[in-house]
Each structure stands twice: as C-alpha cells, then as structure tokens.
Symmetry: C2
Subunit: 559 residues, 2 copies
C-alpha cells in the first residue's frame, strides 16, 4: 500500500527518490497519518497541513546535519515518520511510546524540544550563531505558523534577526488558525508581507503550500542565499482529513472545561461586569458557550498570554470582572504579568487555570504542574482548586466578589458528579472542608485528586483503618484554624496535590507547621522533582503515587 | 524662579494657562527636575526627554478622567510634578516618600502601576474596553518608547489593537534608547511607520517631539478621532541634562556586576565557547567590559527576556556556553522559557541573575525577590548564590563545566572584599561551606546576606554566644550531608535569604527536614509575603529583619 513510504527509514532514503516522486510520497504519508491517528483532532490537522512541506524540507535539506525546528511541534507527525519513526508511530502519545512533540532525547532529527508556541525563531537563531561561531556551514530552518506568530517572543526574535547576518530561513505556514481561527491585524491581506519587510527580512511567497516540487526547489534555492529570509506559504489545515460531526452534548459527568463554560455564561447573565478573556483557547476552554450568546464580552487575544493577563488587569483597574482563562502550562508565559501587573496592584482578576496538573498524552511540555508553586510566593493572590463540579461552580461564583486576584485551577478531563448544576453558594475564602474524621493519619488534599483520597478512605475503612480526610480547597490563604485542629488531633499528615511537591501545597502546610511549632510527621504526595513524560492521566497518577492504591500504600506506611 | 510651575498643583492649573505658555512651563519643569534629582542618571534622562510631551498630554487631556499610562514609568517625573506631587518630589525614591514609578496607591493620576517594560498597550486597551462597556466616553492614551517596543508583549497588544475599534491613542516616543542604545530592525529608517501600518494602525508623525504647542494640538485632534492610532514623535533623551564624566575605575570593594563583567571576560579568553547574552542591559550588567574586547561574542537582544533565554538555549543545544545575564525582576518574564526551552532539555545555560534580592530605591516593581522560589520547583536547574566576590568568581568559573542549567544570583551593589581577583577554584556543585562551628543555634545563609550573619556572629561571640554559621551556597541541590550534620548537632536552625520566604531557600531546608524526619525548630528569615516598597537596601533589610541587629534578635530568641 505504501510503496514508496515503506522504504523510507531515514531522510536519506527520501533523498534517493526523484523530485517527481514527491507528490506520491505526500499522498502516502498523508494516508499513513490519517490511518494511524485515531484521536487528538487539533494535532493531526496541523500535521496534515504540512505533509508536502515536511517532505520538501527533508528532501532539500541535509538533516540532521542541517537544523530544522518546528514551532509548537504538534505538526511534526510527518517529520517523525520520515525520520526513522514510521514503525513506532502507532505508539505516538502512548506511555513508553514516542512523544507527540519533537524531543531531542528521542531522535537526532528533533533538534529542539518544542511544545509551547513561538519559540522556534529564537532557537534557530541560537543554533545558527553557535554553528557559525564553530565554523560549521550547515543550514538552519524554522517552520512557524501564523498563529504562533501572534506570540510576542516570535516578534522579539524577528526584530533581532532582521539586523543579523545569519543565513537563517524562516518558513511561515499560513493556515489561518492557532487552534481556533487566528486573530489579529496580521491576518489582513498583505499584512504579513508588510510586517516582515518592516523588520528588514527578505520576503518570498508561494501561493500553493501543497506543491511539494515547487516547495523543494524554492527551499533549496533560499537556504543557499545569505542572510535571514522568510518564505511565506499557504496551506490548508487538516488537508485530506475527513470532517467529523462533533457532538455538542455535555458528557456526564461533564468535563471541567464545560462546567467552566456553562457556569461563566450563567454568571455573566447576572453580572454585566463579567467578561471572558482567552489567549487563543476559545473552544479548548469552552468559552465558545458564552461567546455564542455574548460575543462582545469574550476576548480572544491570540497566542498572547502576557498580553491577555495585562489586558485583564487593565479591565479590572476600571471596574470590569475579567475571567482570564489560560491553561496552566501556558500561564507560565505570564508569570511576570501576574506578579507585576495584577498582584502588585491587587487587581481582582480571576485566573481560570485549565489543564492544571498532569494532562496525559500531551506529555512533559504540557503538564500544568508548576502553578501552585509559582503562584504561592506571589503576595495578594488567592489560590483555589475545587474537589468537584459543584465546588468549582461555587468558586467561580465566589470569585466575582473578591477584591484580590484569585486563581482557580482545574484539570483536564471529566468531573465526578452527574447532578452538578445546583444553585450557587458563596464560599468563604480560605476555608477547607472536612470530608472524613478519623484518627492517627489525616490526608489533606487540594483539588479533584481528593476524589482518589475518598476512594482510598473507603477501601481503608473496609480494612478497619479510619483516616481523616480534609479537602483544603485553598492553597492560599490556607485554612489555619482547620490546620490547627488537624495537627492537634492526628499524628501523621499526608498532603496530596496534582502538582510539584517542591514548593507546592504540601510545602505551604510545612511552612505553617514550622511557624507554629508543630512537629507532626508529614509526607507530601505529588509530582516529584523531575519532568514527567506522556501517558494516560491514570498511568501518570500511578507513576507518581497519587492514584488510589498509591494513597493507600502511603497511609498504611504511616498508620 | 518657577513663576508658572509654582502655581500648578494639579493639571487643571496647567489647563488654565494659554497654549503659548507651554514652552515656558517646559523650561521650568525641566529645570526643576534637574535641580531636584541628584542620582539615577538613566531615569532622569527618560523624564527629561518627555517634558514637553508630558505637558502637552495633561494640557490636552482631561486627566485623571482621561486615562494616561506611561510605559515602564521611569519617565514619569514630570507627570508626578504636574499632578500634585511637586512639593513631595524631593522625597522621590526615598523610604516613605513618593515612588520613582507611577503607583495608583499614590495618586489618582497614576492609572496603572508600571515599572517593567512593554505593558502599557495591553493595560490601556483593557481600560478602554472597560470604559466603553460601562458607557464612558473618556479618552485613553499610552506612551511607549521605541526601546519598550522591542518587548514582545507590546507586539501582542498592537496586533490585537489593530483589529479593534477602540479609540485608543498610542504615542511612540522614539529616542533610540532602551537603557543602552536600542537594537533591532525597527530602528531602521522608516521601519516603525511600516511596522505600525502592517498592523493596521493609523499612523501620524511629528518630527520635533519637543514642540509642546504642536504636540498639544496634535494630541487634542487625535484623541477625538475614532479607532486606534499611533502618534510617532522623536525626542532627545536627557535633553538639557549636563553630561557627566563617568568614572570607569572599579570601586573597592567592587560592585557585583563589575566582578561579573571582568570575570566573564577572563573566562571567555580561556574558553572560546563562552558567549554573553543580555536583554538590553549591556552596561547595567557590565557586559560592556567583554563587549569592548570581544564584540562578536556579546549579544544584546533588546528588551526581550523570552527571546534571550531561548536564544541561549539554542546556542547551548549546539555547543556554545551561554552566560545569559538578566536582572532577577526581569527574569520573571522568561519563566516559561526557563522551564520549557532550557530545563526540560537540560541545556547548560548559565543564568547570571543580577539585582537579586531587595534592590533599594527602585522599589516594589524591581525587587528581585522571587527567583529562588520560582526556580526551585523547576527540575534539573542548579541554583547558587555566592557569599562574596571570590565565591562569585568561582561559581562563574565552575558554571562552564556543568551539564545542566545553572542560575547564579547576586545582588545590586558592592561586595565585601578588596582583594578579589584571585585564581579560580572549581567548586563542587551543591556543596556548602562551614563559616563557624557553634552550638544550640545554627544559621544557614545563602548569598551575600551571609556577611551580615558573620557580623552578627562576631557581636554575639563578644556576649559569649557562639552560634554555628553555614554558607550553603546552593539552594538546589542543597548540601544534604552538611544539612544532616547541622541538624544532628544543633537544636534550632535559622535560615536567611535575601528573597521571599514563601517557597524559598528556607522552605528547601524544611522540605529536607520533613523528608528525613528531623524535628529541629526552624525559623525562616527573608522577605515576608507582601510587596516591599522603596528605600535604601539597608533600610529594607532592617524592615524585614535580615540586617545584623535583626539576626542577633532572632538568634537570642532561640538561644
């Protein structure tokens, strides 16, 4: 079936083919990707759009000697298949299998780890400077989409590149998308060309980005020209992908993101100060629910976490109630803006941190495990995480009444309740909840991982072991009165969080104990001090010991 | 002497004057600033460049009803003087006096807290959206320099603004500087105009940015036009400022930044893989020392912390040894790049973190107090801080041999040694130093604050109190063997750091104790969980209790 592709075990095999074979290789590669990928629509579409480009690049360049960096990296399925991973491709995004993103530890053809947007131009410049300094004459190419171009660091690099003499080729793949439709002035007709030229970059364009022969010829020519240059191509995202009818029905239990989307709309109907802000994650955050009914109160700013946060701060400074929705891993991009533009002025921005904790198949670049640790040291900010959908709704409801910034973190995936659309309760900030009174050992959880503690508690009770379980709900301010009661009553404490334990929620408990002279034994469960690869969420929870059996084991060791 | 200025206690007083009076007000305002400001050359120059603009803005706008945001904010001295703070201006940057930056808590004319670069366009957009949503018809103006325009978040906002219908006026003040001379393709002739137009922004230019009358007329006209627009003016930074001859002699003891600059040059002479990278802080970081001798090995990337870090990662991926030099407060901008582009790939980038800790007069926006806390939860990274210049040199020397990222934090200001240019020693990573063996109480310090512990130890010894003192040198990995010895020997431990105690170095010690079953009493000294205002470094050390008397007091309470 794959008469050409089946013989390509490395780009050298591709290069042995004649130029006129490339269209057939493209067809086979596209078919192979569609056949082997069963899920993760967004990522397959990006990869399908660049099938011809991928083939043209490896055909014209001498990879891995020449350096090729894919921005974001989610479009690199074709690249992986052509660079020795065709047979491994069915293990894509599976625990122990290959990663969904380029990963230098996996292949010498993956020049740089990518997963977050807009990094490729900086990285390729660094590689080009290094090679030049060491007398190497290899080529340097980065591929970036028009969505990734909205990210500020791409501009920073282009402005720098425009005054350099580096022989770097930037390929701009325009498909009109980030994840949703792309936004911003650069999507206007002719704007990209004018933009690159204003930055002193030599501009070339190809209308049909699916013509592998023209692409190969043009790339070959351009990489041999000196100085920085841009090749602008247009492609169709998801080319060849059979459109699927998406279900709009809510799952039961619902996904946390859907609880967010529907609840925000409910809140916005009652409070006309509420607005929703997202850096390019309208559907990923389920803000489309509110956008359909109130388009003027939803702001998609592009892949611009920094701008989105400071825009929210500006809104809050003049009386709006912004719900700024960002995935945990991407919120890392806006750390300074949280500190400097929001917390320092104590502006009541509501941070809705989706995909917090281990995210599963997207792996190391996308786990949202640092947020509690990096937010906790910032003054003025409230940090909360709900144990279930009802608590989540109540936190979202309560957030509009705070006079401080508040961060509400919630995970990828589904909740635990079927009947969740109950009336709102205003919660007391910094108040924990007693789930179970027990003895000897108390588990203090934050967030939905608390449901695994509930399971563990039930299992243990059947064995005659009755532990305490407290859903602290807030990492900051922490419920000091409840903590004192717990510390006075139990010998040993276990803290559990879906996040890093270095500086995380467990450390907040430790700090409280130290300041108040408590000497209880304490064990912190969570993500250890290492990067965690991909797998299902359940597999990764087991890996780090925050699954139900892991909790039971830790309890028994202390009981 | 200030016949007009002395009657201006608010912008309303300015607006009572006739347009033809503005040049005289400008002369008086410029003279007043020069007379009253005795230090901080960089900041006074920025303010002097915009004297006429400041007057024109308050004359044409109805501040504070109209919203005016100054990017970076260090050019706001004239703004402060015209908005009711003329008499307080001599207290500028003094503890208890007014801040060197706009600060909403200080004045209703300070619409937004600024101190870091490139935030103003996002903030003014947010304010404009909020006012529009609430039916207000007031005006919205942001002033940004061409240096600040190199920061990516300014681009993010402009690209977003270019598709909005907000009646926002952006004034671009081109003076060719960030702090040093500005860099990047946008400094080319005609580039800025082409850049704004590519982003669909209505462009207007004024050649002479010191013509207050023309500025006032133009601003009045433009703010009444609908839609977003840019007014590009050219000014002379430091206009009217008598140039001072700068001393190039090294102080004794030297400033830490100079130890860095001279040492890096020494290292670079012996290792041709070493390069220096800075986001717009060539002289502030003393990278000018190496730049003079090896210009091709120093990279000033503009105000681009994100790009600078990923550029360094790209360099490291291909074998160079990048020393990426960023002030602690600005490194917050590159948190995601540190996690995702450096640490995840375990690339040996050397982060030279200048201005770490409390910085003094620059105040809350500039204290570099979060770095240990936000870096400590990132896997793979080594975090060190030297107690003095010799330790600093040895750390810088050692850093080139690590196979992991390493962050070396050092403070603003001078060291403690006069004889510091000693031969290099390679240090063992993660190894602390015993300064004094004592009993009962041990103080564990990191960084130059350890010198205050040395002083305290000496004072205490005279009173017959002999405490232990250990310079841990590394916050990560922490010296576990030494820690065990200390914890076994002393009853009480005091940790001290020039940084936040929430999640900081002291928490690393706590986490180690918890994991290893130690129950010693522990007191963490450092910056508490609040934003600290301006003052001298000594005043602020006293404020948070990490000065010598503060340490003595804490010891005595535990001894």
């Amino acid at each position: 079936m794959y008469s050409l592709l089946q013989h390509i075990d490395a780009p050298d095999d591709l290069r042995k083919l004649s130029l006129t074979d490339l269209p057939k290789v493209s067809d086979e590669l596209r078919d192979y990707i569609i056949t082997e990928v069963k899920e993760k629509e967004g990522h397959i579409k990006s990869s399908l759009g660049v099938v011809e480009l991928t083939i043209a690049l490896h055909y014209s360049l001498n990879t891995p000697h020449d350096v090729l960096i894919w921005d974001v990296g989610h479009q690199a399925y074709g690249h992986k298949i052509l660079t020795g991973r065709r047979k491994d491709f069915p293990t894509n995004r599976v625990k122990g299998g290959i990663s969904g993103f380029p990963r230098p530890a996996e292949s010498i053809y993956d020049a740089f780890a990518v997963g977050h947007s807009s990094t490729s131009i900086s990285a390729i410049m660094g590689a080009a400077i290094a090679d030049k300094a060491q007398g190497n004459t290899n080529k340097h190419v980065a591929v970036i989409g028009d969505g990734a171009l909205t990210g500020g660091m791409a501009f920073e690099a282009l402005n720098n590149l425009g005054t350099s003499d580096l022989d770097v080729l930037i390929i701009l793949n325009e498909n009109g998308y980030s994840i949703d439709q792309n936004i911003g002035a650069l999507k206007n007709k002719g704007a990209l060309k004018a933009y690159f030229q204003s930055l002193n970059l030599n501009y070339h364009g190809i209308e049909d980005g699916h013509n592998s022969v023209e692409l190969a010829n043009t790339i070959k020519k351009l990489v041999n020209q000196s100085g920085p240059k841009v090749l602008h191509i247009r492609t169709e995202r998801g080319k060849g992908y059979p459109e699927k009818q998406k279900s709009t029905a809510l799952a039961s239990p619902p996904r946390y993101q859907d609880v967010f989307g529907h609840t925000l709309l409910e809140l916005a109907k009652d409070n006309n100060k509420i607005v929703g802000i997202t850096p390019a994650m309208i559907t990923g955050s389920s803000l489309d629910v509110m956008q359909k009914e109130m388009p003027s109160r939803i702001f998609d700013t592009g892949i611009t976490e920094q701008h989105a946060v400071t825009l929210s701060a500006g809104m809050a400074s003049k009386g709006l109630v912004p719900y700024c929705t960002i995935y945990s891993t991407f919120l890392q991009r806006a750390y300074d803006q949280i500190v400097h533009d929001v917390a320092l002025q104590n502006l009541p921005v509501v941070f809705c941190i989706d995909r917090a904790g281990l995210v599963g198949a997207d792996g190391a670049t996308h786990h949202g495990v640092f947020d509690i640790a990096f937010l906790r040291s910032v003054p003025n900010i409230i940090i909360a995480s709900p144990i279930n959908e009802i608590a989540f709704r109540n936190l979202l409801y309560t957030a509009q009444f705070t006079n401080s910034p508040i961060a509400i973190r919630y995970p990828r995936g589904n909740g635990v309740l079927t009947d969740w659309q109950t009336p709102f309760d205003q919660l007391e900030i910094g108040k924990g909840v007693t789930i179970n009174e027990g003895k000897k050992v108390a588990v203090l959880s934050i967030g939905p991982v608390g449901n695994r503690v509930i399971e563990a508690t039930e299992v243990l009770q059947k064995e005659g072991i009755n532990i305490g379980h407290y859903d602290m709900q807030f990492a900051k301010p922490i419920d000091e009165a409840l903590l004192k009661d717990i510390l006075n009553k139990y010998d040993s404490i276990i803290t559990i969080e879906d996040g890093v334990i270095t500086g995380g929620f467990g450390s907040a408990v430790l700090e409280f104990m130290s300041e108040n002279g408590y000497q209880n034994k304490l064990k912190r469960l969570g993500v250890p001090d290492q990067f965690i690869e991909h797998g299902t969420r359940d597999e990764l929870f087991e890996l780090v010991g925050i699954d139900t059996p892991g909790i039971i084991k830790t309890v028994k060791a202390l009981y």
